[in-house]
Every structure is written in C-alpha cells, then in structure tokens.
Amino acid sequence: MNRDTVNVFFLWLVLTALGEFVILGTDLFSYPIVGAEEGHVVDDAFFFLTALAVPVAAFVLSMLGYAFIRFRVSGPDEDGPPVKMHRSWAIFWLLWTTGLTLFVIVHPGITGILEIRHLGSGEPDLVVETEGSRWYWTINYPDGVTVKTFEEDAEMVLPVDSHVKFEVTSTDVLHAFWVPAFRMKVDAVPGLVTTISATTIGLGNYRDDPQYRLQCAELCGLLHNGMDVPVRVVSVAEFDAWLAEKAVTAA
Amino acid sequence: MALRKEQIVAHKPSRRDATLLGLVVFGALMAMEIMELVIGVRITPGALPLLVLLVVPGAGVIVWFFMHLPAVWGGEE
C-alpha cells in the first residue's frame, strides 16, 4: 500500500459518508407526495438506487479529484510508469461491477416489478376507462358517467383506499396516462387497451399539490402540454355521492 | 501484404466445372422452391419451421456458391 492509495481510500470513505449522510440524514433530496401504494415501490427503488450509487460515484470522484490535484505536471517532459494493467485489479473490478449489476437487476428491479404487479392483481374496486384524444381525455366511470376534460371544471375524481384499475386507449395518436402522485404511467395506444393500477392512499387535490393531475406524457402534437386535468382523491362516500350526482345529470 | 495475382480470381474453377456447378445449384434451388410450394399449400398451419429449414440452406447455397462467400477471406471454394 503506497501513500496515494491510502489517501484515496480515506477520501473515498469521507465522500461516501458525506453522500450517504445527505441522502439518508437530510431532506435535501425529498420526493414529491405519494398518492398510491405503487408510488411507494417506485420511491423505495429510487431511494435504494441513490444510496447504492453514492459509494460508486464517490470512488470515481475521489480517484479523479486526487489524480487531478496530486499528479499534475507542467509539460510532457517526463513519462508516467508504463503500467499496462494489473490483472488482479481488473478481475476485481469486473467482479464487483458484475456483482453490483446483478444485484441491482434482482433488487429493486425484479422485486419491484413483481411487487407492482402484485398490487395490480386482484379484483379492482373501480375500473375507469380513459381514452386519449387530441387534446383531451374522455374518462368513463361506471353507471355511464363520462367526463370529458375540455369541459369546464372537469376533474378526475377517485375514491381513497381503493384499488383503481385504469383501462387506457387512444382514438388517434399515441398519448400517455400519467399521474405523478401515483408514479404510474402507461401509453395510450390506438387500437390497444393498456391497463395500469393505482391503490390510492390519502386524500389529495390538485389545488393543494400539482402532483395530483392526469398528464399526457407522450408527445401528441400541437396542444400536448395542455393535455392535463386535475385529479381529486376523496373519501369513498364522497366519491359515491359524486358519481350518483353525475349519473343523474347524465341521465 | 503482397497478394498473389491469382487471388483476384481466387474462386476460378475450369469453365466446364463452373457450368456444371451452376446447373447443379440452379437445379437444387428449383427443387427447393417446388418443395416449399408443396409444403406451403399442403401443411396450412405450421409450415413455418419446415420452410425455415428449406429456405436457410437455399439462401446459403446462393451465398456460398454463386456469391463466392469464401473468397472474402481469401479461401477457395
């Protein structure tokens, strides 16, 4: 162990500790509000990957920064040591990158996918058909209630603590169904019904938090950026009342 | 690096052999096409694997003998 190696090792430890402290101990990296069980899976995966990335980034940065300061010279007069490779180092490098990659694939990759699928399986409490058109959504509830989002005061109302299944399709071009608070997104493809689930937790309202909105996330032409509508998550009783009222007006 | 002259025409058989080779390859390919047709018309579901089995060698024969693939790495046929 020569001095440089020891120095970089400590630099790495310090940087890693600092980074992990910022990630784990402060709320500098806060995430937006979560409105669905699925969103927790997404955020946990994000959080886990960030915490895992810190030591990796810290390692490269400490080597880069140390070399930048310690090994600088003012001209090409002298050559460095003609080291072409340390075989054991390279194998060690390959082993830990491979190990880390495989680990990340399994968790949070595959485990996350399975968890989201598990949440989405089972009988939904409510099925909402959502149809994208340029440039509005048509939201079909049970009982023949339809909300077209270009109408005045249009909003997507959902019951809390319910497993809601969205069946998404499109009438013209590609759109994407995205509610940032739910962290869930799926494309609306003409001629195809795609599905996505959200198990709502907690009340929410666009007026309080803009993450509660249904947003088109796939470029669909002229008014793509305006193709959004507020989402309001209300209590089940309130939702039923709202639905009944709408059904009356529709009929 | 220096190339032998005959490498330009590395795949040069005698003219008689060439004619014979051409006819044999053509005959084989024609037989292949007819077999394909028979398979395609007779075996309505599930002809795909059989067709692949026929077509891949068929295309390979053209690439190998007519297009002289082996000449790319300088070998003879």
């Binding site: - | 690096m1 220096a2 190339l3 032998r4 002259k5 490498q7 330009i8 025409v9 040069k12 003219r15 060439a18 004619t19 051409g22 006819l23 390859v25 053509f26 390919l29 024609m30 096409e33 007819i34 394909e36 047709l37 398979i39 395609g40 018309v41 309505t44 579901p45 002809a47 795909l48 067709l51 026929l54 077509v55 068929g58 295309a59 053209i62 690439v63 007519f66 297009m67 002289h68 000449a71 790319v72």
Partner: protein, 192 residues
C-alpha cells in the same frame, strides 16, 4: 495518388483494389440485408403467419423460378468474363436482363391482381406491396447496372481477368436480389 510506397506495399495494386471493393460490396449487402430483415420481421409482427386465399400461387412460383434462372445466367456471365470470353459474357448479360424484365412483368401482373383482392390500404396488402415493391426497386437498380455492364462490355472493358471485377460485383448484387426473393417468397406466399 499512386505514391511510390503505396505501390510497393500493394495498397494501391489492382489486386488490393479488387479485394477492397469486394469487401465493400459485401458490407453493402450485409447492410441492405438488414433493411429486408426489418420489413420481413414487420410482416410477422403485424400479421403473424396469416395468409389470404387470393394469392396467385402459380405466378408466385413462376416468378421465383425466373429469378433463380437469372441468377444462373448472371453466374455464367461472370465465369465467361473471368475467362475473357466477351461474346458469352454479352449473351448471358442479355439473358439476365431479359429474365429480370420478365420477373418485373410477372410481379406487375401480380400487383394488378392483388389490387382487387388486398389493396395497399389493407393489412396484408400493406406488407405485400411494400415487400414486393422494395424488392422490385432492387431489381430495377440491378437492371440499370446490368445495362451499363452490357454497354461497357460491348466496348471491351471487361475482356481480361484483371478488369472483370465490375461483372463480378454486379453479379453479386444480382444474386443478393435473388437471395432476398428466396426469403420474401415464402414469407408472403407460403407461411400460414
């Protein structure tokens, strides 16, 4: 740009030039093959192994055999050119052009029939007209190249084995068009 050293190391020698041209043509063919792969995969992606009943199977087999035969004649043209036999080269190029035109006529008739059964605006028609159309474009460009060959061969450009590379190249391209058809033919006419 024939500097002294280049000749010395064979980089600009005629032998090397042919070798480079040959690899270049092969790379082009490899690249072009990917285009056909994309189209053929689209057929299976969109329609699986569906096949309409209105395909003219006799015509399909006919044009396939015509194209195979043209591969034979262009092969004979290449062999003749490599022996410096100008007359035989000329004759076989002409045969190939004729067979190529015959193939084009066959496909044209098939298009005429297909228009009434599955026009380009229908699912299978889309893939049928695109694949045969792209292939026909290759046939036509091949015919143009063969036309140039015929014209230049008449003026004695390819009379020796050092100078016959253009014939070999054109033949390779023509064979490639044939290979493409060998794959397209079952894709469109036979799978089910």
């Amino acid at each position: 740009m024939t500097t002294e050293h280049a000749v010395e190391h064979g980089i600009h020698s005629p032998e090397m030039r042919v070798k480079i041209n040959r690899i270049g043509l092969w790379l082009f063919i490899l690249s072009d093959a990917f285009f056909f792969v994309a189209l053929i995969s689209s057929r299976f992606y969109l329609h699986g192994t569906y096949r309409p009943d209105d395909l003219n199977q006799a015509l399909g087999l006919g044009v396939s055999i015509v194209l195979l035969l043209s591969s034979l004649t262009v092969y004979r043209a290449e062999v003749a050119a490599s022996y410096g036999d100008r007359a035989a080269t000329q004759r076989n190029i002409l045969f190939t052009i004729g067979l190529g035109l015959l193939f084009a006529v066959g496909v044209g008739y098939e298009w005429y029939e297909a228009f009434s059964h599955f026009p380009p605006s229908t699912g299978f028609g889309t893939i049928f007209f695109t694949l045969t159309g792209v292939h026909a474009t290759h046939v036509f460009s091949g015919l143009i190249v063969l036309g140039f060959l015929w014209w230049l061969n008449r003026r004695g450009k390819y009379s020796s084995e050092e100078t016959y590379w253009p014939v070999e190249g054109a033949a390779k391209y023509w064979h490639f068009v044939d290979v493409a058809w060998v794959l397209i033919y079952p894709t469109l006419y036979l799978v089910s």
